[in-house]
């Protein structure tokens, strides 16, 4: 096996690993509120989400095409150097995903990937590789706007839902909206699979184009790449990501089923509309904005701003932090020379050690599916909890 082929295999393995971390990191986006309100058992929720993420990966290839052909000119991605940058970028993204997972903070996997690419590219060719205007326009501004667009919609939806509940009755509303939540959360899962699994497909396709295994002119994503990415995303999603689900579902605000339905419906609408109009927004930030809006939309609802503050700090530092790790990874691989595969093996091994270390540390304060199961909580207990959290429900 030649150097290029070996590095290509390592890059594909890194891309699949990123897809896996993306899966368990982002399960919360779709299912956190459904789990928090007891609409679904945690295990059932993540299995539904995993299946829909898998299906979503096959719906279209427009995102993969954007990554593989629409962002980087193919003439600029040829050769082993390109593979080193892609690998360093993926390692930056994986590491940041794992760090934020360890600290139970929902952060954008896409921003981590972009940050990793920025860092690795700057390390490779210098600061001329980056257009600050482009980053602000395509990453920072949409991130801020996502929170407000979805937050306002979720606020209005929650307010309307609680107005209707006055005529409907508390118990009927709770039971009914739980069914609605399952539908809206499923749509978010499907949309997530369509967007995020394809990002990894795009990265792998980019690597295959750069080594001449795939044509940039007659572009198509090979079936084995689709299957690999869809499976990695589904397996990652099925793993749970309970730490982040706990933050998104329980720590931002106390979510009731009408709020959960409002947050997820607004999130699904925001993700799909923004994606359709060519203005892709971070799923994590959209859903976080939705949960905050839903928290504020209920009379007497409480949003825990200290938790939100931690999340905002994480969002702000995601890009530079992933960039730093990506740049460090590229520099380490560069120590072994650009024509050797040793550097690629070394940084992959280092990333594996970091991942194992964080996984071991996370066992000290484990959060399991059983900890998050709310399906056995009766409406009476839920009403008592809601009354304790806020004086007025509707």
């Amino acid at each position: 096996m030649g150097s290029t082929t070996l590095v290509l295999v390592i890059v594909i393995a890194a891309a699949v690993s990123f897809d896996f971390t993306n899966g368990f990191h982002d399960t919360a986006n779709a299912m956190a509120t459904s789990i928090a309100t007891g609409a679904l058992k945690p295990i059932v929720a993540v299995l539904i989400s995993a299946a829909l993420n898998f299906l979503g990966a096959f719906i279209s290839i427009s995102v993969a095409t954007t990554i593989a052909k629409g962002i980087v000119p193919s003439s600029a991605t040829a050769g082993l150097d390109g593979l080193f940058v892609v690998e360093a970028a993926l390692i930056g993204a994986i590491t940041w995903n794992l760090i934020t997972w360890y600290f139970t903070i929902p952060s954008s996997s896409s921003h981590a990937l972009i940050g990793g690419l920025i860092g690795a590219a700057i390390a490779s060719v210098g600061s001329g590789a980056v257009s600050v205007h482009g980053i602000v326009q395509k990453v920072v501004a949409p991130g801020i706007l996502a929170i407000f667009v979805c937050g306002i919609a979720a606020f209005l939806a929650t307010t309307a839902a609680y107005l209707l509940i006055r005529r409907l009755g508390q118990e009927e509303a709770r039971a009914g909206y739980r069914y609605g939540q399952i539908g809206s959360a499923s749509l978010v899962s499907l949309a997530h699979g369509t967007n995020d699994a394809q990002k990894t497909m795009g990265v792998i396709a980019l690597a295959l184009i750069s080594t001449g295994h795939l044509s940039a002119v007659h572009f198509t994503v090979p079936v084995w790449v689709k299957l690999l990415c869809a499976t990695a995303m589904a397996l990652g999603t099925a793993t749970g990501g309970w730490r982040i689900i706990n933050t998104m579902g329980n720590r931002i605000t106390t979510v009731e089923s009408p709020q959960g339905f409002s947050a997820e419906s607004s999130s699904a609408a925001t993700i799909l509309a923004s994606s359709y109009y060519g203005y892709p927004l971070s799923t994590t930030q959209v859903v976080s904005g939705g949960v905050m809006g839903a928290g504020l939309g209920k009379r007497g609802g409480v949003v825990h701003w200290s938790v939100v503050g931690q999340m905002v700090v994480a969002w702000v530092i995601t890009l530079p932090s992933a960039a730093l790790v990506g740049a460090a990874a590229w520099n380490i691989s560069d120590l072994f020379g650009t024509n050797s595969s040793v550097g690629a093996i070394v940084i992959a091994a280092l990333a594996a050690v970091v991942a194992f270390g964080l996984w071991t540390l996370s066992k000290r304060n484990r959060i399991t599916a059983q900890d998050l199961d709310r399906t056995s909580i009766t409406p009476e207990i839920e009403a008592e909890r809601a009354a304790a959290a806020s004086p007025a429900i509707a």
Binding site: S62, D81, H133, E171, E172, Y276
Partner: protein, 110 residues
């Protein structure tokens, strides 16, 4: 400040997104709420009450209309996923977030 924001944000797309989100996101929640109200009026939800055929039929009709609206939004959502505008190959201009010139290091990122 406004000029800066105009240069950075595509407000035209943002307004379209916001309107669609309000209609689809908020509208679905309202429609679903009326669906539940319709089911309650039709005695399919909550404690059973003595009702005439008229209110029951009205409840079923309301629930059916709202159910169709909710399912319609989901179908449109899936259609939007499948029919995303396809991308065109990028040109190495300054507008891209990352543009790496070909040279000794032959790679570019996002």
């Amino acid at each position: 400040m406004f000029v800066l924001a105009t240069a950075i944000v595509d407000w035209d797309a943002m307004w379209k997104i916001f309107v669609v989100v309000l209609i689809a996101g908020t509208g679905t929640v309202v429609a679903f709420g009326f669906l539940l109200l319709g089911l309650k009026a039709a005695n399919r939800l909550g404690p059973k009450e003595t009702r005439g055929e008229g209110p029951r039929a009205g409840g079923y009709a309301l629930a059916a209309v709202c159910g169709v609206l909710c399912v319609g939004v989901v179908v449109v959502g899936i259609y939007a996923m499948a029919k995303k505008p396809s991308s065109t190959p990028a040109k190495p201009k300054a507008k891209a977030a990352l543009v790496i010139p070909a040279g000794p290091h032959k790679f570019g990122g996002f």
